[in-house]
């Protein structure tokens, strides 16, 4: 069975990577911990489910997978509006106001989701069913999970290339290293911050969209991923992309093996590991 657990660990890790990558980019560039990140994930999930249900089986199979991007797009748009209307005014404010503002946004968005999509569950398993199953080392495994891993891998590579090779990415990293100096060098902090926030929100939305073919979208969909995202960020180190990757895999494997071996304390175990790492290495594994 360990093959399946390992694959499951990779799958959980891939999803968490997308979520924590977004959380980390926003935290690194803007210094704001976005408590509404889980809501953006939920928006991505509901959007994708809704689109998939709406178009049904009328389109070629390939197109069905493209529609998953709708989650990314809408979460990105919501992120854009959020940054422009609320987060914008928070850069110069102290921590408690920043956190409480995103906490307010979380409550607001939860109810907006409820207003738009109502309280019922959205099932959209077509992309999952269509891919069927494959045989891996004698174990039958859903192909869709592999698809998710590939998407996360591609997304991760794109972000890495973007951050290290393009001018825009280097500017973003400059801001996260030293905001004051970056302003002094004449970078347009406002526009870059908006961009970072939209990027982070979009990644959360993409993660939500990728999950929805496997589990129906429900109210409160974003709560658990947000908390797991926190653990990843804490374990990996705040604002570190490498940390997000290692942290996601660590949490993913702990979860998958934890569920298999001792399902009762799988969640406490995660927090315990996070706690131990923090006592030993307070800045996280790859923190600065």
């Amino acid at each position: 069975m360990w093959v399946v657990y390992t694959l499951n660990g990779l799958y959980f890790g891939a999803l968490l990577f997308l979520i924590s990558l977004g959380l980390n980019i926003i935290l690194g560039v803007m210094g704001i911990l976005n408590l509404a990140h889980g809501s953006l994930y939920a928006i991505g999930a509901f959007t994708a489910a809704w689109v998939i249900i709406a178009i049904g089986m009328k389109v070629p199979a390939f197109f069905l997978y493209v529609t998953l991007l709708s989650g990314l797009v809408l979460a990105g748009i919501v992120g854009f509006l959020m940054e422009k209307s609320l987060i914008r005014f928070m850069y110069k404010r102290t921590l408690e106001y920043q956190l409480l503002l995103t906490f307010g946004a979380l409550m607001l968005l939860e109810d907006v989701i409820k207003m738009i999509w109502g309280g019922q569950a959205y099932y959209a398993s077509a992309p999952f069913d269509l891919l069927g199953r494959v045989d891996i080392l004698g174990h039958v495994y859903p192909t869709y999970f592999l698809f998710v891993m590939v998407v996360a891998l591609i997304a991760g590579l794109c972000i890495w290339l973007f951050m290290s090779k393009t001018k825009l990415g280097i500017m973003l990293r400059a801001i996260s290293l030293d905001r004051e100096m970056a302003t002094g060098l004449g970078l347009d902090i406002n526009r870059l911050s908006t961009f970072a926030f939209v990027l982070g929100s979009g990644l959360a939305g993409l993660a939500g969209a990728l999950v929805v073919p496997t589990t129906p979208a429900l109210l409160g969909f974003g709560h658990e991923p947000l908390i797991l995202g926190f653990i990843v960020v804490v374990v990996g180190g705040l604002g570190s992309l490498k940390g997000a990757l290692v942290g996601s895999l660590l949490v993913g494997f702990t979860r998958s093996f934890g569920i298999a071996v001792f399902p009762e304390i799988e969640l406490p175990l995660l927090f315990l590991i996070a706690g131990i790492i923090l006592v030993v290495k307070p800045e996280g594994l790859f923190g600065r």
Binding site: R93, L95, L238, P268
Partner: protein
């Protein structure tokens, strides 16, 4: 401060008048409103404790629900496993003890950090407790939680008495007594040399360290005192509510504690008390009148953060100074 100075300070006269007015509250309010008021008082104790950390030490905890849950679950667990010890004079010290232990353990880890790191750490540790309370359901009741019966009180038994009657009688005065003691105690703490040292740490850590304040140790002390106040509030709250669930340790509940403190204003000693009262009523009325109560509360919070950064008490006090200036 001597007794003479206290009697000359108009602030203390106002406190005394409010205390006397509070004695007559059970006669003025209906049972339903009185219960709400009691929720407010328990949260006021929580706010007092929380603000020692936020307002006076400059540390924002997003996990104080954990100590609230520690106090609340001490009561509920004793009710379930040690029913012969289920009396108020044992329960309150027990709740204080368990929140003390928990805040020593968590505080030791958390005070190594400040700012956002501190917030995330407190949050994660509170979620550890939440996960335990939630998953070990055969001990803790999980998401169903545990029921909390009426306790005995200094030998008095309340068998056969319904909860509303219990709450509107003896328990209200007990609550008021504990609140008054907590208020005076916290007032003493923040104006003691220890409290001044905390404020020095808040304003400038490096300077505080240079004049010989042991910053980390003082932060830990503040964390522990704060945790115990919150635990006390949690224990008192359980008798009003009659039921505890794992959600008390969830970070969203901790967020509500931050919310009420900010709503009242954390720069002012009485701010969190006012905030706790307003928040209790605001939440109940929002929940009673619309299914989109989170929208109302969240929207209020956003408006508050953008427009009233010093909270209600802060706004009133700055208005007061303005009026005073004009009249001179």
């Amino acid at each position: 401060m001597g007794l003479k100075q206290i009697s000359r300070n108009p602030r203390w006269i106002i406190y005394l008048l409010i205390f006397i007015a509070l004695l007559f509250i059970p006669r003025m309010l209906s049972i339903h409103d009185l219960m709400l008021f009691e929720y407010g008082i328990t949260f006021a104790i929580v706010g007092l404790g929380f603000n020692l950390l936020l307002g006076y030490t400059g540390l924002l905890s997003f996990g104080h629900g954990a100590y609230f849950a520690a106090g609340a679950y001490s009561v509920a667990m004793i009710a379930k496993y040690l029913p012969q010890a289920y009396s108020l004079e044992i329960l309150i010290p027990a709740a204080l003890f368990f929140s003390l232990v928990l805040s020593i353990i968590f505080g030791f880890v958390c005070v190594r950090h400040t700012k956002i790191f501190f917030s995330i750490l407190t949050l994660s540790l509170a979620m550890l407790l939440f996960a335990l309370l939630f998953k070990l359901y055969h001990i803790t009741g999980g998401s169903d939680g545990l029921r909390v019966p009426l306790p005995t009180m200094f030998g008095m038994s309340f068998k056969g008495i319904r909860r509303p009657e219990f709450l509107s009688g003896t328990y209200y005065y007990f609550l008021l007594g504990v609140f008054s003691v907590s208020f005076l105690l916290m007032k003493g703490i923040v104006s003691s040399p220890f409290g001044k040292a905390l404020q020095a740490i808040r304003d400038n850590e490096v300077r505080a360290e240079l004049i010989g304040i042991r910053v980390r140790r003082y932060r830990l002390y503040a964390f522990i005192i704060s945790g115990m106040f919150v635990g006390l509030g949690g224990a008192l709250w359980t008798f009003v509510n009659g039921h505890v669930t794992a959600d008390l340790s969830h970070w969203v509940f901790s967020g509500e504690i931050v919310y009420m403190t900010l709503l009242g204003g954390f720069g002012i000693f009485e701010g969190p008390i006012i905030g706790a009262m307003i928040f209790t009523y605001l939440k109940l009325y929002a929940m009673g009148n619309t299914q989109y109560w989170m929208f109302v509360i969240g929207g209020t919070l956003i408006v508050l953060v953008l427009l009233l950064p010093n909270g209600v008490a802060g706004a009133v006090s700055s208005l007061w100074t303005k009026i005073k200036k004009k009249s001179h």
